[in-house]
């Protein structure tokens, strides 16, 4: 590893993108992710790239669509209300199978909501915020170091599968500073993008990038191809962290909440309660198999989110009734407090572990 810097999460994302070979960035400012735009505006032209502040989020995502069609590594970033505006474009990009990286530094909603951190865009990110049967890879970093590493990885995944890879952070992750240790060389994967709409001097048939297929049979075939791609991703690309594998109770949490959960695990240890953490790193594909690894010993699961319980549904699907699932959530920009999570743990301990 190389240089170590104290950096804001948003800056780490931007630096990672440049290191990953991102040459085009289109965005429109919105708190709490505007530092990404600042950084790109300053640094991207220096590496021969283009920073462009679009007239709106809708314009920005369509610029991403166009730039991505040429095979160029491209990124946009925004926060919740801005990501809502981008949904039409995301669906078109999915239909046209264009690689792109999209960053959502989530703030609290619904509507204009507030600017404080939230995880309430889980459904939108993982279940399809736009129309049609499509998916996007959703990565959920939980530290500034991981924001850097997963952003580089997002560009590889986007290219590998010709689709959107989304970084889903939150206001706290974007605004906070931690030490980032940069690699001397990034693990950039290179793909021969024969589908790209670039000049070819009549050396081949023209490439067409489109999502319109008016013949239902053709469109169904295209959908089946997409679903097959998603099946492969589900099989190969699930990422997760299991901390304290032999625990009696598991907290399921991602992003900044997983960090708070880790401090709860320490508090619980002092009280003689054996708590572990199951942290999905890919939210889609959701790492169902992680639950199989701990289910024999685990007595119960506690999902903690900055939402009303959105990931909770996937946790229940993964467990399929095999073990009890509890939930603790805060909304509106409030962050779960470790004492409150500890209280839930104590209740679960009394119900499921103590007299066992």
């Amino acid at each position: 590893m190389g240089q170590k810097l104290l950096m804001k999460g948003n800056e780490a994302i931007a630096e990672a993108a440049i290191r990953a070979g991102c040459l085009h960035y289109f965005g429109y400012p919105i708190t709490p992710q505007t530092e990404i735009s600042h950084y790109m505006a300053k640094k991207l032209p220096k590496v021969g790239g283009v920073f462009l502040q679009a007239e709106s989020e809708v314009a920005a995502i369509n610029m991403v669509y166009g730039s991505g069609s040429t095979g160029t590594r491209v990124m946009t970033s925004s926060s919740s209300p801005g990501i809502s505006l981008k949904q039409e474009g995301l669906s078109y990009i999915a239909g046209s199978q264009i690689p792109a990286v999209v960053v959502n530094i989530v703030r609290s909603g619904p509507g204009l909501g507030g600017i404080q951190p939230a995880q309430s865009d889980y459904f939108q990110s993982c279940k399809g915020g736009g129309h049609g049967d499509y998916r996007q890879i959703v990565l959920a970093p939980s530290s500034v170091q991981e924001l850097y590493e997963l952003t580089v990885e997002a560009f590889n995944l986007a290219d590998r599968y010709r689709m959107v890879a989304m970084i889903m952070g939150d206001g706290n992750l974007g605004q906070m500073m931690e030490v980032v240790e940069f690699r001397n060389e990034e693990p950039i994967e290179h793909y021969d993008k024969q589908w790209a709409t670039v000049g070819h001097e009549n050396s081949r048939e023209q490439n067409v990038v489109t999502s319109i297929h008016l013949n239902p049979a053709v469109l169904e075939k295209m959908n089946l191809d997409l679903q097959e791609k998603y099946r492969v991703i589900k099989e190969k690309e699930c990422r997760y962290e299991i901390y304290n594998q032999d625990a009696d109770i598991f907290i399921v949490a991602y992003g900044i909440v997983a960090r708070i959960a880790k401090s709860v695990i320490e508090m619980a240890k002092d009280k003689g309660i054996n708590v572990g953490l199951l942290r999905p790193i890919t939210l889609w594909p959701f790492p169902d198999q992680a639950f199989d690894q701990v289910i024999d010993k685990a007595k119960a699961f506690l999902t903690v989110e900055m939402s009303s319980g959105q990931m909770l549904e996937d946790v229940k699907l993964a467990l399929n009734g095999r073990k009890p699932v509890y939930f603790h959530g805060r909304m509106g920009g409030m962050v779960p407090a470790r004492d409150d999570i500890m209280k839930e743990i104590r209740n679960i301990y009394n119900l499921h572990v103590k007299n066992d």
Binding site: L6, Q175, M176, M177, E178, R259, E266, V335, A337, D339
Partner: protein, 177 residues
């Protein structure tokens, strides 16, 4: 030990920069650090605060609901954060601005008229550094040597000529009885 620090005051008093300096110096000391600012409308003329963690082991949660070191630069912040200090923790208060001591007897408090001292030095902006001096003296949150290096890393070059005075302010804070 894990230093869990909350710094709080009005926007413009250098609360966020003070936290930033602790984080940078902590990193230079070879520790794990995190810095989490309050962000948003409350910063514009309102209150500002930040959470800083300095730890030998990786930082679990950068979000603090309690702390063991508290630096206070206005009264509303003392009212808000005093209850969050863990037993045995420490509170450093700018007594030029805050007209009361802590109400608890299970934590240690130090009252320093930092803004007045800084004004006498000719630059009110040193008040935060004076308070950090006391914190560093009492708790060894970061080393003095790397605090100076952090000043060079964090401040823009046009402010580097002020650093000898900033270090003097730090020393005044450290020596304040």
């Amino acid at each position: 030990m894990v230093h869990e620090v909350i710094l709080a005051g009005f926007g413009g008093q250098g609360i966020l920069s003070a936290g930033r300096l602790l984080a940078e110096a902590g990193m230079l000391d070879g520790n794990h650090v995190s810095w989490l600012p309050s962000y948003g409308p409350e910063m514009r003329g309102g209150t500002a605060n930040c959470n800083v963690v300095v730890s030998k082991t990786p930082v679990d949660s950068p979000v603090l609901n309690s702390c063991n070191e508290l630096v206070i630069m206005n009264k509303p912040s003392l009212d808000k954060f005093e209850t969050m200090v863990e037993k045995g923790g420490i509170v450093i208060i700018d007594s030029s601005i805050v007209d009361r001591d802590v109400k608890r007897d299970d934590i240690n408090s130090f009252l320093i008229p930092a803004t007045n001292i800084a004004s006498e030095m000719g630059n009110m902006a040193f008040a935060n550094i004076i308070l950090l001096g006391k914190l560093i003296k009492e708790r060894q949150t970061v080393s003095v040597e790397n605090f100076e290096k952090a000043l060079y890393a964090v401040l823009s070059e046009r402010k580097h000529h002020l650093i000898p005075q900033e270090m003097e302010a730090l020393k005044i804070g450290m020596d304040y009885k």
